[in-house]
């Protein structure tokens, strides 16, 4: 470039300003996009956390007052969450139609214990017969079966089979596990890579368990009775433990009417219609804290009025975020 007959080297001021301006615009657009995505992600998680906390407070209103014992930063109660990833899959050899329901653990649900749960839509069931067809294609250490009368992750019955060819009925109450099946646990044969029928008849505090390649209900494999404050109703959920990858099909619940899910009208790769629900596992590092205390004003404590705080925590870019909602529940029915 020449200026006043003299050849100039490098950039002019104008050129530099334009270059800096363009770079600035690029950085601004990128930063705005990034901020927008982050802000929306945070708001999405906050909305989810708020719904979970509100759901917990509402669920507590249906709990007997005596059960609202004081506790600090305990697990949420009386909400049956899903866990892991459940979706419809098209499977060669599916027992009916083309589709089955697949349970797999998510990265958030750990590798041991209860790694997958999918709550069957509908009702809190009391007395019922439930039949499912289950297949575990591979794996050397797994558990799979059903949760019955599922209230929350610390209160339910679990009927399940293991890779050691044993089957169990366990009661989990307040997080403490008690076996209800005969001892030692009855054995079964080769549950791998075949669809088996698992049928349970729940009648009051008695359970009859059937497991076979045919839906034979003449003789139960065993019976179990819970004589210690049994759970008399609750949700039913498909269960996978110890990172099992399991297929379920023809889920049928018989009460005064019959409801069956064969998943054949559902879209493979999606959650079955009506089975969508979310829980703490849908939040990155999601955790819940329930605090119940007697209402106190000044030095006076009221044992017939509880202060309830439901807190949901999650991680947002390695920073802990939380939502806390509180309410009061009165022994005498009036609550805020």
């Amino acid at each position: 470039m020449k200026f006043g007959g003299k050849k100039l080297k490098g950039f002019t001021l104008i050129e530099s300003i334009i270059a800096i301006g363009l770079t600035g615009i690029l950085i601004l657009i990128f930063a705005a996009s990034n901020t927008y995505i982050s802000a929306n992600q945070y708001l999405k998680h906050k909305s989810l956390a708020t719904q979970l906390a509100e759901e917990e407070l509402e669920a507590l209103r249906n709990v007997q007052f005596a059960q609202l014992s004081n506790r600090t930063a305990a697990n949420f109660i009386e909400v049956a969450y899903n866990k892991g990833v459940s979706q419809v899959e098209s499977l060669t050899g599916a027992p009916s139609g083309a589709n089955v329901y697949e349970l797999t653990p998510s990265s958030q649900s750990g590798t041991t214990g209860v790694t997958s749960l999918s709550v069957v839509p509908g009702f809190d069931y009391s007395d019922f017969t439930v039949t499912v067809r289950i297949k575990v294609p591979t794996g050397s250490s797994w558990e799979t079966g059903l949760f019955l009368r599922y209230h929350d992750i610390n209160n339910y019955y679990r009927v399940y089979l293991t890779s050691s060819n044993l089957y169990f009925v366990k009661k989990v109450a307040g997080g403490t596990e008690t076996p209800l099946q005969p001892q030692p646990a009855p054995s079964i044969s080769a549950p791998i890579n075949n669809f088996y029928y698992l049928t349970i008849i729940a009648d009051g505090n008695n359970f009859k368990v059937y497991y076979d390649t045919t839906p034979d209900l003449t003789t139960p494999k065993f019976t179990a009775t819970d004589s210690d404050s049994p759970f008399l109703s609750g949700r039913i959920a498909l269960f996978g433990g110890d990172s099992v990858h399991a297929y379920f099909d023809d889920v049928s619940i018989f009460t005064s009417s019959t409801t069956t899910w064969n998943f054949d009208s559902d879209t493979p790769g999606k959650i079955a219609k009506g089975w969508q629900r979310f829980g703490l596992n849908d939040l990155p590092g999601g955790a819940a804290e329930l605090t119940i205390s007697d209402y106190t004003i000044g030095s006076t404590t009221y044992t017939d009025l509880k202060t309830i705080k439901a807190k949901v925590k999650w991680n947002e870019k390695d920073k802990e975020k939380s939502v806390e909602i509180s309410t009061y529940i009165s022994k005498h029915g009036l609550s805020l």
Binding site: M1, I37, G122, F123, S126
Partner: protein
């Protein structure tokens, strides 16, 4: 400026132009997707809040068929029929009194991708009769109950799944909550 300098200048200018336009389009895409999410979330929240309020004030979940304006409705896992105490006012900020012994019947149901309500009111009730749109883009509406006998239900769980396709991307927002019938 030589021809090669001109060509290099044009090339750099085009390159920067493509980058600016590319980043702008990416930003626009993100913006529209996020707006879509916000729209679905807001729709779901408003719908859920309305349903929640009515469940809380209901006297019971109706068991059996209810006919409103010639349309029969029965409570099941995607239809909810509620019995509400009739009220003498629905104006915000105005006192609202229950009309003793009279009830309105409110239904929530899915009509295609629209979540709708339908209401049959008792004589003297101030509630607005007829169908109303409660939410859009709804794929799935699920009601779960705490008893298989609807006449014994006192807790209802609502799961609402809404979706929308924006820029070939399907967005889905699921909302979930539980409400206890306070007047049962």
């Amino acid at each position: 400026m030589t021809i090669s300098e001109t060509l290099v200048t044009i090339f750099i200018f085009c390159l920067i132009g493509v980058m600016v336009v590319g980043i702008y389009l990416a930003y626009d895409n993100v913006y529209k997707v996020q707006i879509g999410y916000n729209e679905l979330s807001t729709n779901n929240s408003m719908a859920i809040d309305k349903i929640l309020d009515n469940i809380k004030s209901a006297t019971r979940v109706v068991n059996g068929e209810t006919t409103i304006d010639g349309n029969p409705y029965t409570t099941d896992n995607d239809t909810l029929v509620l019995e509400l105490p009739s009220v003498d006012s629905v104006e915000p900020g105005q006192p609202q009194n229950i009309i003793s012994g009279k009830f309105d019947y409110l239904v929530y149901f899915l009509d295609g991708n629209k979540l709708k309500s339908d209401l049959k009111k008792a004589t003297g009730s101030a509630r607005k009769e007829g169908q109303q749109s409660v939410g859009d883009f709804v794929d799935t509406l699920v009601f779960n109950f705490n008893n298989i006998d609807y006449s014994s239900v006192n807790k209802v769980e609502i799961i609402l799944s809404a979706s929308k396709t924006i820029k070939n991307q399907t967005l889905e927002v699921v909302s979930q909550t539980t409400a206890e019938l306070r007047n049962k």
